[in-house]
Symmetry: C2
Subunit: 349 residues, 2 copies
């Protein structure tokens, strides 16, 4: 296990680059190559025990610094910890303070590329002190607390003018990319707006310009609906990119995930738990990712009208190949309405 | 092994869908779920023997119909076969004939989605009659023949006005997505222009509008160059999305891969072979994909000025996680100039 202090300093600083062919930002981050994995030789069923897991209660000293914990009292036992990522993709230490800073250093290398200094925040949310507890094992209220911890961290990061977008995401299981088996999520706060987010905003704007409506406020077709709660609905999107992809959408228009209040957090916690359990039962406990798709931090009022946040869940059932890498077009073997049916039919206790 | 005739007919026809949130096409193709794999439990080192492989010489009857072979004489032994994919993502049988046809059926489902009939071609190029021979084992001239077979097939498909783009790609190794270990590539001919291709064209247009030049005609920085031949250059792109991603680019402006002539095919065959061998030596024989990034079939003259085809090679060294799925932004742990250096340093015999 690398020691928390030594590893972070040695590498070249991260950079964010773009070339004129793809015109999309790529984060170069040598530090990432060093991170350990506790999934031994692709056997996600036998993760490390808690004795050697830095995310377990009692091993806090093996982690990068804590940002905050829930409950906040540093002497009480914690339920959730938000900590720095020990192998961060972006660096919180380069050239930036809160507010009023000049724009991130942007330079051109010849005419053939652009570079932004790799400033940003990369944090880990440890969702439980206990190694064997998964997110879906928590009570709805506790899942809500994890979501509220993400909200709180976003509200802290939002003070940095240079940060444009915060991606909250979770990797569960080795083939969903997880290198640590202890239940956790991550936040990556970026000084650029990533391509999928720009594309989503452009597209929902187009719908709004044509119809005067936010497309995620529209009533979803019955055959794509899975569950409805007071504040949220879960659906399989009409053009799901991945088999059994599911979106949990706020029923009332809301642009930023961090608008979530305590009552809605419990409601969302319950629906997220239910959805993850349904996926686990119907698809044989697959690895999965979820991503919170939200608005850029500094989105302006006119944009907020057509940006509607949602939580995107993707079970990892099949890999991709050269076709998807080359085209950005995906092949989904399961029609959305068929996937929704499978999710409607299951009853979890 | 499913029998060649029965499988293709049962499933619902493929559809290509788009929703207003992502605004990108997804191919729904239930037939794909049925395809077999000859990689047993993730052990790419122990592929099936030739006795049970439909791509091996002598087992032609286990394959979907042949389109052509090289050499063309049906009674001689073949070196290359281009065949239909038995589990095609798109269907060649729905609603379309050559030329002058009405546009692919496009319908709207409510206001929340668009659908195009899943017409298209999905073919397999069997690169050698022998199970154990990989592409990089062939002579430069023979690799060139594989490329010319792809060119020939594109020229046939180009007669169909409904087809907008042909993606040529190769999956090598199970974690690069390959379900068959016998050396092969694929062609997928689409009735839509996929998102990555549109984005690439928009981006190179922007560069052209600003500078009056095609950005892939520009001299590449020395520290990113790997090899140079008479007609081609191999580089690590400045903002490589994946570690050790390599592009092979024609040195003279050329928009369509299928402009490749016999002489250039041998030259490219040699450089592709060299590059794959370098990757194999330096990165310990990793799984990889390659993709031919070319111009849409019906690109107009003004576009051709800034569309420059290239062959993109991506070794599969690490998976992706929720961050990449959510944002379309990638984290590359190896700076491009460092990757290029590793490739410059190796000498393969
Ligand atoms: N002692 C310690 N203290 C603090 N933090 C520690 C730590 N030990 C490990 N960490 C961090 O904990 C995180 C665990 O994250 P995950 O298991 O979700 O996947 P990871 O980020 O490794 O990569 C996956 O997700 C990313 C982003 O999607 C993909 O780039 C990648 O390919 C995929 O494998 C790692 O980022 C690691 O750096
Ligand atoms: N007897 C037979 N006759 C004719 N054709 C036969 C056949 N038996 C099998 N085939 C076809 O041969 C092809 C072999 O292709 P690959 O091994 O490159 O990967 P595959 O297309 O399965 O999926 C990978 O590539 C695609 C596209 O990138 C990804 O969607 C997917 O996730 C990834 O695993 C398959 O498409 C299969 O349908």
């Amino acid at each position: 296990m690398a020691s928390p202090s030594s590893t972070q300093t040695q590498s070249r600083s991260p950079e964010i680059r773009k070339d004129p062919v793809n015109n999309r930002w790529v984060i170069f981050s040598p530090a990432r190559a060093k991170r350990p994995t506790d999934f031994k030789a692709k056997s996600p069923q036998n993760p490390n025990s808690s004795s050697s897991c830095p995310f377990c209660i009692g091993n806090e000293h093996e982690c990068a610094p804590e940002i905050f914990r829930v409950p906040p009292d540093p002497k009480s036992d914690w339920k959730i910890r938000v900590i720095q990522n020990l192998y961060p993709a972006l660096s919180r230490d380069i050239g930036c303070k809160k507010d009023g800073d000049p724009d991130a250093e942007m330079r051109c290398t010849g005419d053939l590329g652009r570079v932004v200094t790799g400033f940003g925040f990369h944090d880990v949310v440890i969702e439980s002190p206990v190694h064997s507890v998964q997110l879906q094992d928590l009570e709805p209220r506790e899942v809500g607390e994890v979501l509220l911890a993400c909200k709180k961290r976003i509200e802290q990061i939002k003070e940095y003018d240079l940060i444009k977008y915060v991606q909250v995401f979770k990797n569960h299981g080795a083939s969903a990319g997880a290198s640590m088996s202890h239940s956790h999520s991550q936040l990556l706060a970026l000084p650029v707006i990533p391509p999928t987010i720009s594309a989503r905003i452009n597209s929902t704007k187009e719908y709004f310009d044509q119809t005067g409506k936010c497309c995620l406020c529209e009533v979803q077709p019955k055959d794509l609906q899975i569950d409805v709660t007071t504040h949220f609905i879960s659906i399989v999107p009409f053009a799901a990119t991945f088999p059994f992809e599911i979106w949990i959408i706020p029923r009332n228009h809301s642009s930023h995930f961090h608008e979530l209040d305590n009552e809605k957090a419990v409601d969302l916690g319950g629906l997220l738990k239910l959805t993850l359990r349904k996926i686990s039962v119907q698809l044989n406990n697959p690895p999965f990712n979820f991503m919170i798709q939200t608005a850029p931090l500094q989105a302006i009022d006119t944009q907020l009208a057509y940006i509607h946040w949602f939580l995107q869940i993707v079970p990892q059932l099949a890999g991709v190949g050269g076709f998807e890498i080359g085209t950005g077009c995906y092949i989904n073997p399961v029609f959305s309405e068929d996937a929704a049916k499978v999710m409607q039919e299951v009853n979890v206790p």
